[in-house]
């Protein structure tokens, strides 16, 4: 059931209808039942994995929560010396840590096993072995959300959730389980605990967001994907075709993923639940670091909080940093201190994104760029002045944004081509076989898109860019809401018509699954 299908629309309508007629206090139960039904429809064989995660993480969080509660109560009611308190804290810490390690191994362990099995099957070109690996829908997302909650309880950031069904709703909530956002319990969990009310403005604006997301997905992303997949299907093609395909790939992945987010945020708004945003105008970023603070923000935030920070404040990393400050030059010391957590985080992020050498290369690519930008930040920031370029003007900021976009496209190239050797062949073709003439000889029409589709795609991209620019000024839905009724309805009907007429589906095309849904 893809979220641009009529089946999904019908599912949401049924859940919404039941939600609306239920008393407010019971509405969270409707969402829980709806979420479990959604997951069962996705695949009954996936359900045991989700249930195992919910139960193992909740039980672990309850056990750890009770350790901290008993400790607090004991310290409040009895008098201990500082040494006794320290001893008790260390003993409880060891117990809680053992529970965390076990729970994380169980949950992240299956994720690692599944990736390893798929990698082995791909290397052996064994399709039947790959098909036997069960990849529960959204496992990367719900596992990360659940493990993040457990670690937050372990680190005493908040109390554990006493109601297992409330926790189950947080983990399985259907608008976020397939492709995220990877929500934090103190945000989404609390949203789901408040009294869920119906609000006309929120429902209508939610539907508008859904419509915009569907437009992005069906009109722009799926159309761009036709060209991208045909262009990268060969590895000895014309370099200019690959460059255009790369540019369209960037558009495709953004329209696809942000379109999904808009659809699910809009659906969630129908129920009065706000989901975290995953994008903050990433193409306005002026550096790679800034880009990844604006793109797939919840994934970046997860890796920052649960991988990067634990490494940087760990005892062994502090010892290495201290040693390097004493024994190495300041630049080399900074390289070591910053490089270890950054490269580790990015390697793991690359592996999270996919199996294969290409994704490891992708992780190394970003880890290297970001480490270099940190270690040589003084040199890089003074460079424009030293070569006579003004850095405080629009043209330089534009250059920075375009440069960042090109770096992102370069990273995407590492995972194209199906295999790393194919990727290398494509890169070689770009370097040695790029000509301008194919732009004017109609060669671009030979990759699945005719003239009309190119026009629709270009108009769609311009519209997307226009909305992005408007969003910088303020909430677009708010701007629309302030217009007169006939104008607003003209806009909604135009949107629906565009999706119906220009959406990429039907027998001539296949509606691509969302890019990030197989994680």
């Amino acid at each position: 059931m893809t979220i641009t299908s009529l089946e999904f629309a019908a599912f949401v309508m049924v859940v919404f209808a039941v939600f609306a007629i239920c008393p407010r206090k019971s509405r969270w139960i409707v969402l829980l039942a709806g979420s479990m039904l959604f997951y069962m429809i996705a695949g009954l064989e996936f359900v045991p994995f989700l249930v195992a995660t919910i139960i193992s993480i909740w039980l672990s969080s309850a056990a750890i929560g009770r350790i901290w509660e008993r400790q607090r109560a004991d310290f409040d009611q009895n008098t201990y010396s500082p040494a006794e308190k320290k001893c008790r804290r260390q003993k409880d810490q060891r117990k809680a840590k053992a529970i965390v390690i076990l729970a994380v191994c169980i949950n992240i362990g299956y994720l690692i096993l599944e990736k390893a099995l798929l990698y082995r099957a791909a290397r052996a070109n064994d399709l039947s072995a790959a098909a036997r690996v069960i990849v529960p829908l959204g496992i990367s997302y719900y596992s990360f959300s659940a493990v993040g909650y457990l670690l937050d309880v372990y680190w005493k950031r908040y109390d554990y959730e006493r109601n297992v069904f409330r926790f189950a709703l947080y983990a399985a909530y259907f608008p976020h389980i397939t492709q995220g956002p990877i929500s934090r319990y103190n945000l989404l969990g609390q949203e789901l605990k408040k009294e869920l009310t119906l609000d006309y403005t929120r429902v209508t604006q939610g539907l508008q967001l859904v419509l915009w997301g569907v437009c992005k997905k069906l009109v722009i992303a799926d159309r761009a994907m036709v060209f991208v997949s045909e262009a990268f299907a060969v590895t000895d093609g014309e370099g200019m075709v690959y460059l255009i395909a790369l540019a369209l790939d960037v558009v495709q992945i953004y329209a696809d993923f942000s379109g999904y987010m808009d659809i699910m945020r809009g659906v969630s708004e129908l129920f009065g639940v706000e989901l975290e945003r995953n994008f903050d105008h990433p193409f306005r970023a002026r550096s790679v670091s800034e880009f990844w603070r604006r793109w797939h923000m919840t994934l970046g935030g997860w890796f920052k909080d649960y991988v990067y920070y634990p490494i940087t404040i760990s005892g062994w990393h502090k010892r290495i940093s201290k040693w390097s400050k004493q024994c190495l030059s300041p630049r080399m010391a900074k390289l070591l201190a910053a490089g270890i957590p950054i490269m580790t985080t990015w390697l793991l992020t690359g592996i999270w994104h996919g199996n294969g050498v290409g994704y490891v290369a992708w992780g190394i690519y970003y880890g290297t760029l970001i480490t270099a930008s940190v270690v040589w930040s003084d040199v890089l920031s003074s460079l424009p002045g030293r070569i006579g370029i003004r850095a405080d003007c629009f043209s330089y900021r534009l250059f920075q944004m375009l440069r960042t976009g090109c770096i992102f496209a370069g990273g995407r190239l590492l995972t194209k081509g199906g295999s790393f050797s194919s990727t290398l062949r494509i890169i070689r073709q770009i370097i040695t076989n790029t000509h301008v003439l194919p732009l004017f000889t109609g060669e671009m029409m030979g990759y699945g898109l005719n003239g009309l589709n190119w026009q629709i795609l270009i108009i769609g991209i311009c519209l997307l860019a226009g909305v992005e620019l408007l969003q910088v000024k303020g909430e677009v839905r708010g701007m629309i809401a302030r217009q007169n009724l006939p104008f607003r309805w003209m806009l909604y009907l135009a949107g629906m018509l565009v999706v119906l007429v220009y959406g990429v589906y039907g027998s001539a095309y296949s509606t691509e699954g969302f890019a990030y849904q197989n994680f």
Binding site: W155, S289, D305, Y309, V374
Partner: protein, 74 residues
């Protein structure tokens, strides 16, 4: 203590008036890389060890919250 914290922050990110600024982490004035350097300097200056329970952002959101955290850790 406040002066020492301000000196550290101004050394890491010149041009920001940290004394009155709130939301240093939530508004992304301090990014994760700067956080790493800030933690190292605070630990060395005040002879403390900052654990993961303080890494949720709110303890670094202002100079006042950093002072409270340091007092707790001492």
């Amino acid at each position: 203590m406040k002066e020492q914290i301000l000196e550290i922050l101004e050394g890491l990110k010149p041009g920001v008036s940290f004394e009155t600024q709130k939301g240093l982490v939530t508004d992304k004035i301090i990014d994760s890389i700067t956080m790493m350097e800030l933690i190292t300097l605070l630990e060395e200056t005040f002879d403390i060890s900052i654990g993961m329970e303080y890494m949720d952002g709110k303890h670094f959101d202002s100079v006042d919250s950093m002072m409270e955290m340091i007092e707790e850790l001492r």
